[in-house]
Amino acid sequence: MKTEFIIEAALAIQQTILANESTLESLDREIGDGDHYINMKRGATTVAEMQTDLASLKPDEALNKIGMKLLSTIGGASGPLLASFFMSMAKVLKENGDESNLKIAAAFAGGVQAIIQRGKAGISEKTMLDVLIPVSNQFVLLATQNCNVKLICATLIHTAEQGMLSTKNLIATKGRAAGLGERAIGHIDPGAKSCQLMIEAVCKLILEK
């Protein structure tokens, strides 16, 4: 992984977030407090503006810097979770290196693990983890099987989508929707949606190369 790619990915992420304003906004209005789009936009825009600062850094340094910046930028529930993801991912990359898909997958898994620890949530609690855990597992599996990067990306786009859709029929047990009980059913979790969008954007970037 190159820092250049991280920057490209950051711009692609910003683009997809901005392009999905009304979706993200209404999802959080339905079962949350309506600020998820604003939070994600603030984070994505700030990272996009870091381009020049990031350019000279090593990939793990860049990811760590992004994580730290997000920590003081996003706020809300998604802020510390996404920040933890990037900081932990950076830490694993720094320790293990990034020379293979498997190492990158392991770093991704480390990031997801940090979200699990910070948020004390697991699968099927109607959060972003319903996207991130399956994607992480699939990513590690495919990388272990030595699949090529295009196949991995194509699969992960699908896995992310499945995970995102799976939140629709769940009762939330974590996050702001946890109080809703049955009323949360029928609504996709906003954090799951934004994670799916981000994963899709980055995977497409690779597929189009």
Binding site: I31, D35, L81, T173, K174, A178
Partner: protein, 334 residues
């Protein structure tokens, strides 16, 4: 959306600047990261810090001052603040007796304060407020939100801290107050987050949202509008049921503090009408309202609606509620 704003991105700083100017005898504003501290730094006491998303004014900055908070960290509207704000605030106000964070129980607030606490180089503890009993049968703590009862927790902890009490004693009092407090809210209209520019939820002329959260989160259920006495009757029942489920059984003429809180767009006239009914109904449950607070103390921007909070008093809580306080939004005895 019609609001007194210039630019949605500047509303927070402009409003905080106005607040700091209007209360320059009480508070000092720090920007980037944003936090407010007492104008005169307190010494020899536990530093009490709270914070959370903005839009609930006067919570929390309005409670900075003698007998209450040492600092407050305001996030964006309805978005919890970030750890750097808490770290800088703690750095500014700590006075060698440790730092106590008072945090409303929302995933975002909890996690951001938690990360700050982990990074903090001083002794610290956290009190989570979770007084909202709107959500029934929730076996998950995440389901129980911190709402207007937070004001009572902040007042009592602030009072105890002022006596020079130790960090753990302050935390213990805060936990106790939280455990003896229950709240429930009702919305007549939605609020409008400035950056979103449209109401958070749709609600018709004949509906109310029972158990609404202070961010306009949905509550127990959508109900049809009814006379105030019926609505308040249900709120009182919810609180009594909640106390019972927590094994709190008010005994004969148990003294309590009744807080009738407006969400921002409900006239005082209606809040006092609600108080009148609620006080009568609690009386029927062996509860005597010995202390009261009626007004906009934990708001949800421009939402029309109100919440009822009951705190079962004991001698210690009563003493700390009655003690002098001098903040922008709560002041007596000084």
């Amino acid at each position: 959306m019609k609001k007194f704003i210039n630019n949605v991105d500047h509303i927070l700083v402009e409003s905080l600047s106005g607040f700091a100017k209007a209360h320059s005898d009480l508070v000092e504003l720090h920007l980037e990261p944003n936090f407010l501290t007492r104008a005169d730094k307190a010494t020899n006491k536990v530093a009490i810090i709270s914070g959370g998303g903005s839009g609930h004014e006067p919570l929390h900055a309005g409670y900075i001052g003698y007998g209450m908070l040492d600092a407050a960290c305001p996030g964006h509207v309805f978005t919890s603040p970030t750890p750097d704000q808490m770290l800088m605030a703690a750095e500014a106000v700590h006075a060698d007796k440790g730092v106590l964070f008072i945090v409303k129980n929302y995933a975002g607030d909890v996690m951001n304060f938690e990360m700050a606490a982990e990074m903090l180089p001083f002794e610290n503890a956290t009190v989570l407020t979770s007084d909202d009993c709107a959500v029934v049968n929730s076996t998950y703590t995440t389901g129980r939100r911190g709402v207007a009862g937070t004001v009572i927790v902040e007042k009592c902890i602030g009072s105890l801290a002022e006596t020079g009490a130790a960090l753990q004693a302050c935390k213990a009092l805060g936990d106790k107050v939280n455990n003896r407090t229950a709240s429930i809210g009702v919305a007549l209209t939605s609020c409008t987050v400035p950056a979103a520019g449209r109401p958070t939820f749709d609600i018709s002329e004949s509906e109310i949202e029972m158990g609404v959260g202070i961010h306009g989160e949905p509550g127990r259920r959508r109900e049809t509008m009814r006379p105030a006495d019926e609505i308040i009757g249900d709120c009182v029942e919810a609180i009594i049921t909640d106390f019972k489920s927590r094994n709190l059984h008010p005994n004969h003429k148990h003294e309590a503090l009744l807080l009738v809180n407006g969400f921002g767009a409900t006239p005082l006239m209606e809040l006092y009408l609600i108080y009148n009914t609620a006080a009568k109904l609690f009386n029927l449950h062996n509860i005597e309202i010995s202390h009261s607070l009626v007004g906009n103390y934990t708001t949800a921007l421009d939402m029309a609606g109100a919440s009822i909070t009951l705190c079962l008093l004991d001698d210690e809580i009563t003493k700390h509620w009655d003690s002098p306080v001098h903040t922008a939004a709560l002041r007596w005895g000084k």
